[in-house]
């Protein structure tokens, strides 16, 4: 349960001025607890009576990613980028193509694979993106419900 100053420190660590917009975006990302889009953030903050512009959201997110405080992701067949805080454990998400929910899964199946790539191909792995899609438990029983 982080206090408000929490965001302040995060920002200071990146040599970033502690503005209301930036702190609000960090808070929104943290509250979400899963990847959300720039527009999501924009609307969340509007609801919260935080005055902000969409371009600022994009600029702040870019900065956070650049400073290593956040992660950016895109998924095929959705032009919008998703952002998440780089706080929590490394994890992936299952995308239900029925209800479009994202199911977080802790742990990562790729650790050994990356080691193998280093050894076999001399490829120095810096990161990866994994997108698994299919039907969640609820939707697999009624796959034509949409």
């Amino acid at each position: 349960m982080p206090c408000e100053g929490h965001y302040k420190d995060l920002l200071k660590g990146g040599n970033l001025k502690n503005t209301r917009q930036r702190a609000s975006i960090l808070k929104a990302l943290e509250n979400a607890g899963q990847p959300i889009t720039a527009e999501d953030i924009y609307l969340l903050l509007k609801d919260d009576k935080v005055s902000i512009s969409l371009s600022t959201v994009y600029r702040v997110l870019d900065t956070l990613v650049e400073k290593g405080l956040a992660l950016k992701n895109t998924m095929t067949d959705n032009p919008k980028a998703f952002y998440e805080l780089k706080n929590h454990e490394h994890r992936h998400h299952l995308l239900c193509v029925g209800c479009h929910k994202m199911l977080p899964v802790d742990g990562c199946p790729l650790k050994d694979y990356e080691k193998l790539l280093e050894e076999k191909f001399g490829f120095s792995v810096k990161g990866h993106k994994l997108e698994v899609f299919g039907y969640c438990e609820g939707c697999r029983e009624k796959p034509h419900s949409t």
Copy 2:
């Protein structure tokens, strides 16, 4: 070494008219042997004196994907979509962030993982996208060459 009629059959199988543009796009995808963008195809065909428009390239690619003849992929930090023929073995690519080459890797580390997801979460996996990035053998020795 497929003959020209090869493409014709592919198209017929999808109830698609056998046009010069479609056959050329299929050929370009096959020649490439790795994921390429719509613009890549457009330029390749222009060089080859095949008259075609960019929108046709997009429309044909969409159709091919829809018919299951091709795969579409997007990578974070590159807004362009990549397309490849769905001919060959399932495989992934290593993206070098130094020289931006794509290194194909046969095989897939996710088979067991997908089985696990089915069992543990009741999630019916339909497919996945994997993007591994880092430095290739050539670039890891001179990572600041760009």
